[in-house]
């Protein structure tokens, strides 16, 4: 018998089923999907003209080109009218991004819809208030009054908003597009003046790529077609087979296989050589992106495995090779980059004062990458092709660079290497992040404008809270108990602080009215400065929510209209609402609006009309589109020429409406959107920085990176004295194909939970042999920050002496072990480097062995 209920017959949507366009709720790629909704009891027929797919099921669909409609693409939901409806969510064949393809994440979109009879019944449906050790239902009316009174009580007493702390997503995907982000921005930055705010996973409000933006390069600058045209693709700390799957298999792998040669010949200059693509993977692990590519093009794939934290030294060494060998265009550099700052780059990054041999010896010693490999990588990136034509290289970096030690310098070094070799702004080039999720940032100006060089660094809100500051903590659509670095310590402290309030509230019996509740909360917060009031706003009861005092239920993907751009093309599309939120759950923007309106009422009752007016920002927001259009007012006038696209915000969508987006459907429009001065029409931007960079004078701003300074004290403590023997492994962390982020939906799906019942640790076969470990064994991985029980995967993905922990698993997060270090220039953490010990636990959990596969995930041959 199957391990869980399987299907052998799916209903077809009848002609006349309601159909919607949408985009996957999960990763950066942003695959297009089509949604069909129809009442239970109706069914379409198998003939092409008998169903809403317009697909012929009288014979089996043809492999690869047929319509994908699988067991995980259908579900039944309960409508608000009390009827049941079928929902089918299938990959869009007219999407230029996925072309009908899909991944293990998006393929399950249909199963994430709310149903009272499936796992999604766990969705939050109405506000919950903690009464002692229980959460009880309350109305929105009462929840909003309590929020309003506590927020107002704190800011009135303090005369500022510094005791109000927030943790909130700040861009799109997963049901939070421009609309929700704008709602949050208006409440927190215009109505309130929140300084102590942090973004989803991380401890501060910052960009992960200030090292690129402050050079004049927004991190999303290439197009999906560039992955098809590149002579060389560089994956630097990016593992797209697992984390940008469809982008990798539909666009990058076909290039390596030579399937895009025709497109190259059409796009390249006359006589320019075109051949199947080359791939450079720079990663401490033999990632599945590397090994999958080796199946097709072993001699055109190069793997560089630098020591943890040393990537920027490696990037500078590759740049030095480029310099020594003249793989650059001096005219381009003079015309398009700041040659005064270039002197600093030559001195500090290229270190032209050090002889080449000595420089390369030092780089090899620090990074552990052989000089010959560094030189070969530089050749593959930049050595001119036959006829002296510039090589076209697309560099895609992600968390291996971003969540590295010294975030700012890492990102800057990679971007500078791309600009030095003119690998940006031309077809087949670009240098940007792969992205985690999709994007949708539009807000009033944020409290911290930039890195330490531009008004920063931002406040570390995690440390502010764990040190006992702040009185109110509002956690929105993120689960810091799993996702924040050094999370074991964070969990303990937030629990301790919220518990102080919980106990004090219950000491003389809980108050019986909302007014009395608010008064007592405020009284306790100011009597015991360590006490903390916590609100969690989410779609599920998260790990963090277990310590909350008030829980607000939010709408999810598909339960409201929203808009986002994807990362590989900045493609803006409308994600249409196709179902209702469960119970009384509301879209985030609406919750922000109503919190504002309640505060306005309370201020009006005090006779403070001016203060009240600030909080009425949402009074005219009736629909999601009202918010989308209001947000567009934050952007610059976009009636600029093509050459001036670089002067626009990356996400500028001024002039775009929902009806425009409905018309363009899956084709979308690429931001920044311009209103063409010649035609007056809205046009997208295929690729950025062809004509100028995004700095004030249009020139690229070079930066001289730091010298190698070794590891920060939070990790260096594991390298001193006897510590390396006690904590013998380097630890790195990352995501896996199967689960999305904290697996908030995936943990309800048997396909996922049976496969990954526990978090896993990758152990090299040599280490496994030495320690007597086999696949499926349970081990404790621990260090001075925290610990967790992990299931062993034996694999050569990791080198001997290194462990890889999967992130964010609900049965134990790798972040319990990560340190509290952040880059002093940006406050971005180093999630991907620490040290730990490992021991085999006594006994076993045989039921886990029975269902979970431990076959090697990076072995494709």
């Amino acid at each position: 018998m199957a391990l869980f209920e399987r299907r052998d017959h799916l209903p077809l949507p009848p002609k006349g089923a309601k159909t919607y366009n949408t985009v996957c709720q999960y990763c950066n790629v942003g695959c297009g999907y089509k949604v069909y909704v129809w009442p239970v009891g109706e069914e379409g027929g198998p003939g092409k003209d008998q169903n809403a797919f317009g697909a012929d099921f009288t014979n089996p669909q043809p492999p690869l080109v047929g319509l994908n409609y699988t067991e995980t693409m259908h579900s039944v939901v309960q409508g608000r009218d009390g009827r049941e409806y079928h929902v089918a969510i299938v990959p869009a064949q007219d999407s230029p991004i996925n072309r009908g393809d899909y991944s293990i994440r998006g393929g399950t979109n249909a199963l994430t819809t709310f149903s009272p009879t499936r796992g999604t019944q766990d969705r939050l449906r109405y506000p919950l208030l903690r009464l002692g050790d229980q959460f009880q239902a309350v109305t929105w009316q009462e929840a909003l009054t309590l929020m309003g009174r506590v927020i107002k009580g704190i800011r009135d007493r303090d005369g500022n908003d510094d005791n109000l702390t927030v943790k909130c997503y700040d861009h799109g995907g997963s049901g939070q597009g421009f609309e929700d982000n704008y709602g949050a921005g208006k409440l927190f930055f215009d109505a309130l003046s929140i300084r102590h705010i942090a973004i989803h996973n991380r401890p501060a409000y910052n960009s992960e790529v200030w090292g690129s933006r402050e050079r004049g390069v927004h991190e999303l600058n290439y197009d999906v077609s560039d992955a098809r045209l590149a002579d060389t693709v560089v994956l630097w700390g990016a593992n797209p087979y697992e984390t940008a799957t469809v982008f990798y298999v539909e666009h990058i792998l076909p290039n390596l296989k030579g399937a895009t040669l025709g497109e190259k010949k059409a796009a390249f200059a006359n006589g320019e050589p075109a051949e199947p693509g080359y791939l450079i993977v720079i990663d401490p692990r033999k990632t599945s992106s590397l090994t999958a590519a080796e199946v097709y093009a072993k001699d055109r794939v190069l793997h560089l495995a630098p020591r943890l934290g040393t990537d920027y030294i490696l990037a500078n060494a590759m740049a030095r090779v480029v310099w020594e060998r003249g793989y650059y265009d001096p005219d381009y550099l003079k015309a398009r980059t700041d040659m005064t700052l270039f002197e600093d780059y030559k001195k500090k990054s290229l270190k032209l004062g050090t002889p080449y041999d000595a420089f390369m010896d030092e780089a090899e010693t620090i990074t552990g990458v052989p000089r010959a490999q560094i030189e070969q990588a530089a050749e593959w990136m930049a050595k001119p092709k036959g006829g002296g034509q510039k090589r076209r290289t697309l560099t895609i970096y992600e968390k291996g660079i971003i969540w590295n030690m010294k975030n700012y310098d890492q990102v800057a070094a990679v971007v500078q290497l791309a600009v030095l070799t003119h690998n940006i702004g031309r077809p087949g080039t670009g240098c940007g992040r792969q992205g985690g999720h999709q994007e949708g940032y539009v807000r009033p100006p944020a409290p911290t404008p930039g890195s330490i060089f531009n008004g920063g660094p931002p406040v570390n809100v995690d440390k502010l809270l764990t040190s006992g500051k702040g009185k109110f903590y509002w956690v929105i659509a993120t689960d810091p108990y799993l996702s924040t670095p050094n999370s074991q310590f964070f969990r303990k402290r937030i629990h301790e602080r919220t518990q102080k309030l919980t106990e004090a509230l219950g000491r003389a019996g809980e108050p019986g009215t909302v007014q009395a509740w608010a008064d007592k909360i405020l009284q306790v917060l100011y009597e015991d400065p360590d006490a903390l009031f916590m609100v969690v706003q989410d779609i599920y009861m998260t790990d963090t929510a277990r310590d909350a005092h008030l829980i607000l239920p939010a709408a999810a993907w598909g339960e409201a209209n929203d808009t986002s751009i994807n990362c590989n093309s900045r493609l803006l599309r409308l994600y249409e609402k196709f179902t209702d939120p469960p119970g009384e759950a509301k879209p985030d923007w609406e919750i922000f609006k109503w919190v504002g309106m309640r505060l306005a009422e309370l201020y009006r009752a005090d006779g403070r009309r001016e203060e009240a007016a600030k909080f009425e920002f949402g009074k005219d927001w009736k629909t999601d589109e009202d918010v989308f259009l209001a947000g567009s007012q934050e952007f610059k006038d976009n009636a600029v020429s093509e050459a001036d696209e670089a002067t626009l915000e990356a996400e500028n969508y001024k002039g775009v409406t929902y009806s425009f987006l409905k018309e363009v459907g899956q084709q979308g429009i690429r931001t920044p959107v311009r209103r063409d001065p010649a035609t007056g029409k809205l046009v997208g931007t295929l690729r950025r920085y062809t004509h100028r960079f995004g700095s004030s004078d249009g020139k690229f701003k070079w930066y001289g990176t730091d010298d190698w300074e070794g590891y920060p004290p939070e990790v260096d403590k594991y390298l001193k004295g006897e510590a390396p023997e006690r904590y013998p492994f380097w630890v790195t962390t990352g995501r896996a194909q199967t689960i999305w982020q904290t697996a908030y939906h995936d943990r309800n799906l048997p396909e996922k939970t049976l496969a990954l019942p526990l978090p896993y640790v990758e152990v090299n076969p040599e280490d496994a042999r030495r320690l007597g470990l086999a696949g499926g064994d349970l081990v404790e991985v621990y260090n001075e920050e925290g610990n967790g029980t992990f299931m062993v995967y034996v694999t050569d993905a990791v080198q001997p002496g290194m462990l890889f922990l999967v992130m964010y698993h609900w049965r134990g997060t790798s972040n319990s072990l990560t340190s509290g270090y952040t880059d002093p220039k940006t406050t971005i953490p180093w999630y991907k480097g620490t040290r730990a010990a490992l021991r085999k636990v006594a006994g076993a959990l045989p039921s886990l062995h029975q269902t979970a596969s431990t076959l090697q995930q990076n072995r494709f041959e």
Binding site: D8, N59, Q61, V249, S288, T738, L855
Partner: protein
């Protein structure tokens, strides 16, 4: 107004009831096996070697299936070593034929990989559903017989 059940209305109502019934009643969740499957011989225990896949057509001649002897006990395995399992050979991702490569099935199109010892679990790759397993029965004469398909075969909305 009095309600008169005309013959015409009666026929309409009957048609509606049939439609409701044939759509699976409540919510059309046809848990496999919900259909009538043929019994077809997939091999004989005396002839199947460990690690040598045998392809056969099931449940009809337009669907390829694969029988393997893993050499270690498997979920749903039959035979004296409980190591004989069979699956639909169409990748659940986009329908390409999966290949048995020592311990696992690999799809040549996008590298989805399935573990035959764990009910066809997707342990890597793009497929969002496990490979449909084919329950087997061993006859007294050693014939291994396919009896149903637990899971939807890619490209179909109804297995038979």
């Amino acid at each position: 107004m009095t309600s008169v059940l005309t013959r015409r209305k009666f026929v309409q109502l009957s048609v509606a009831s049939v439609a409701l019934f044939s759509a699976g009643g409540r919510a059309a969740t046809w848990f496999a096996p919900s259909l009538t499957y043929p019994s077809i011989k997939a091999g004989n225990v005396a002839k199947i070697e460990v690690g040598k896949p045998a392809y056969f057509n099931y449940p009809d001649n337009r669907a390829q299936a694969v029988l393997v002897k893993l050499g270690k006990p498997a979920l749903g395995g039959v035979g004296k070593d409980r190591d004989l399992v069979a699956f639909s050979a169409s990748c659940t991702h986009m329908g390409c034929g999966v290949q048995y490569k020592g311990e696992r099935f690999v799809c040549p199109c996008h590298q989805s990989m399935f573990d035959p010892a764990k009910s066809g679990q997707v342990y890597q790759g793009l497929a969002s559903e496990w490979l449909p397993q084919i329950p087997l029965r061993v006859q007294p004469n050693g014939d291994v017989v396919a009896t149903a398909v637990e899971g939807l075969i890619w490209g179909r909305v109804k297995n038979v």
